[in-house]
Symmetry: C2
Subunit: 432 residues, 2 copies
């Protein structure tokens, strides 16, 4: 007899959802995580959860939203490059997964409901406590159950009937692989997400080393979703995310505007990629002093002076000039073009008070990776021939055919964790 019915590898939202569900179906469950605490990248995330037909929507007076409409939106913004049955099940079960989180104590206030892009209804659900609240309530549910938890135990190898961690073998009838993405693994980023710049930073938890992807691939699992994920545009002068878009005008390498700067991150990043991989945020002194604080811009923004030495230290990433022509020269765009762009700028983007600034923006912050294991709509891990590897399941950021090229800001990554975490736990528990 195996040590456990189900071993879950990874203690983020996907792994904890799988562990709870498998336990509640009667399985004996063991949960491994290489870090010393539960929560993974979920605990660091914004906590956005994409779902249609929820009680929160109904409380907001939204009626008639449906998984069908959610699926249509998903397919369109990804230009149909999705895995239809897998995405369809995500849409079908997202609302139930959200209600389950609510039953575990997560609060999704009506006031936080938001639309992203051109969704006809608001499908973005967020707790006031962001991703940390979701992680916390899942952890509470895990710890309230007789689930064995091994923290600080990084699984080194998968076996067909178990795992090896710290040199010791634990056996199980079924495995759930939920080790997250590979945002912290430079070699994997280089190979599987080449669009991420070589000097990108990552928002993921330190354990996002792609372990599950690498270990399962060694057993013949198929990796899909090459070069997809979510990159967040970032000023190159400091590590950090651009939190408040829209206050500055973005111009491309020709000196022209090319996108609505208040678009969501994935839209901006794909647009910047289409423009050659970088652009410039252009603004004036009054805007700099009044701009919201933003980690990505370091201490450039705010109502204080910025010395020439400071600007010199940012040379190549930021420029300052006393007129538009000099600014254009400093960033290598044609002055007459930038002059025209500035002349037509919207009032809140106008350059009025000297000096003027230009800061180079690149999609430089890896928010999540979307390349990984291929699953079917039962969360089964597929081999190269497309056949399920017996009793292996996967969910969340470890998967490569759920989120797609165009991350949906309403939160399709957390929906992936919860929906496929629950499906994985449910199906794994059948092997008891």
């Amino acid at each position: 007899m195996a040590d456990y019915d189900v071993i879950v590898i990874g203690g983020g939202a996907a792994g904890m959802s799988a562990a709870i569900t498998a336990h509640d179906r009667g399985a004996r469950v063991m949960l491994f995580d290489g870090e010393t605490k539960l929560g993974g990248s979920t605990a660091l995330s914004g906590g956005w959860f994409f779902a249609a037909g929820t009680s929160v929507q109904r409380a907001a007076g939204i009626v008639g939203d449906s998984p069908e409409a959610m699926f249509d939106y998903y397919a369109q913004v990804n230009q149909w490059r999705i895995d239809p049955p897998v995405v369809r099940r995500l849409c079908d079960e997202a609302a139930a997964a959200l209600e389950w989180l609510i039953s575990l104590g997560v609060v999704f206030p009506v006031k936080n409901l938001t639309r992203s892009g051109m969704e006809t209804v608001a499908r973005g659900h967020q707790p006031d406590g962001r991703g940390a609240e979701i992680a916390q309530m899942l952890e509470r549910a895990v710890r309230a159950r007789p689930i064995d938890i091994a923290l600080g135990n990084r699984v080194e190898r998968l076996l067909s009937d178990g795992v090896i961690a710290r040199g010791e073998t634990a056996t199980a009838n079924a495995l759930v692989i939920a080790t997250g993405g590979f945002g912290q693994n430079r070699e994997m980023l280089r190979r599987l997400y080449p669009t991420a710049p070589e000097d990108s930073s990552s928002m993921s938890a330190p354990g996002s080393q792609g372990d599950g992807i690498t270990m399962a691939a060694a057993h013949g699992a198929t990796i899909t979703g090459h070069d997809t994920g979510l990159l967040i545009p970032s000023a190159s002068i400091a590590n950090g995310t651009i939190e408040h878009a829209g206050w500055a005008m973005f111009v491309n390498r020709h000196g022209r505007r090319f996108i609505d700067e208040s678009s969501y991150h994935s839209v901006l990043s794909l647009a910047i990629r289409a423009e050659g991989g970088f652009c410039f945020a252009v603004f004036d002194e009054a805007t700099r002093r009044g701009a919201p604080p933003d980690g990505s811009f370091g201490d450039l923004l705010g109502d204080h002076d910025v010395g020439d030495d400071r600007m010199a230290a940012w040379s190549g990433a930021a420029a300052r000039a006393s007129n538009v022509d000099d600014l254009a020269h400093a960033i290598g765009v044609p002055p007459h073009v930038l002059r025209g762009t500035v002349a037509r700028a919207a009032p809140h983007h106008a350059l009025r008070t000297v000096p003027f600034y230009a800061v180079r923006i690149t999609p430089g912050l890896v928010a999540l990776t979307a390349c990984g294991l291929t699953i079917d709509a039962e969360a089964r891990v597929l081999d190269e021939a497309g056949e399920p590897i017996p009793a292996w399941f996967a969910a969340g950021e470890t998967t490569g055919n759920v989120v797609g090229d165009m991350y949906i800001a309403s939160g399709n990554s957390l929906a992936n964790c919860l929906v496929y975490g629950r499906i994985a736990g449910d199906n794994a528990a059948r092997y008891r």
Copy 2:
């Protein structure tokens, strides 16, 4: 006094719409075309016209469709990389342009109304006589008016107040540039649409040399929409378009399915591009004999024998084998993967009767180019600084910021010709 109020360059749908409209606003109009007949690429096209809120839709019982919904769809499938005010006006005025065509004698039968992709309502309007019917009715309207027509007169140069054709100058107060795309110009394809394969063929009229784009750029007009257009997937064994998609299974270079084969051409082409630029249509002998005729597959399809010599002549582009493993070897995909894909194929894609076939598919046929002159929502041609070049207008395939990267199969290119042709004619006539 100038020879004319308005000179229109190009006699396709955009140019003829502009000429008729300018005349009807009281202008003296001259129309040039380098070819010996009117109609341009429109006359060769399918005649699909994308519009929302039309009398044809109402006759079909479709109510409540709107330019807003059409715009949302447009933006989403192009991942928001569009010029919002320009696309917005296209959507706002598409229905009026369609009704105008109807008033000129074009018949859009209710039975031809179709949806493309995931449109919630049918917005694709098509005459039984396809694009030729539209060209014919526009020509009738042009010839019913005192509009001077110079066929076989390729304009060689634009002047700020006229044109030079065959060495002779004609002057005008305003110009409308409507010379179509550059599908027949290899040098421009290489430079402005590099995704089009070096050996691509083109569906455009022979006059699609990009003349207007080149001539206006020489005066400082901005070219936008780099590397966009509509490529149609094509079997490499003959020139011609794949008319009836969906009868064969498509697999990528790894031997896996990756897209719904019945998706529309632009979706297929972008998906094939994301898979490395090629894929394979895989089918069995019974399917080959029963497949609809398709120019792109030459004489491979149909209820006749195909000799080994014929297959040998297609070597590298098509393969035949007596089992899946040999077929996989012949096209360089892993046999165990292709075996799995074939095992899971839908019934109509199953490989049952030997021999089996694989035909290489590339986005090899240029249906239209979408890179060109930048216009504003008044059809004015913009210079590099984004300012209108005085009294110059453009419409149709000559423009670079209307159609976008994801052509919409319901017909946004013809909508561009008609909507911006009419706007250009209307605004040009003010210079009388």
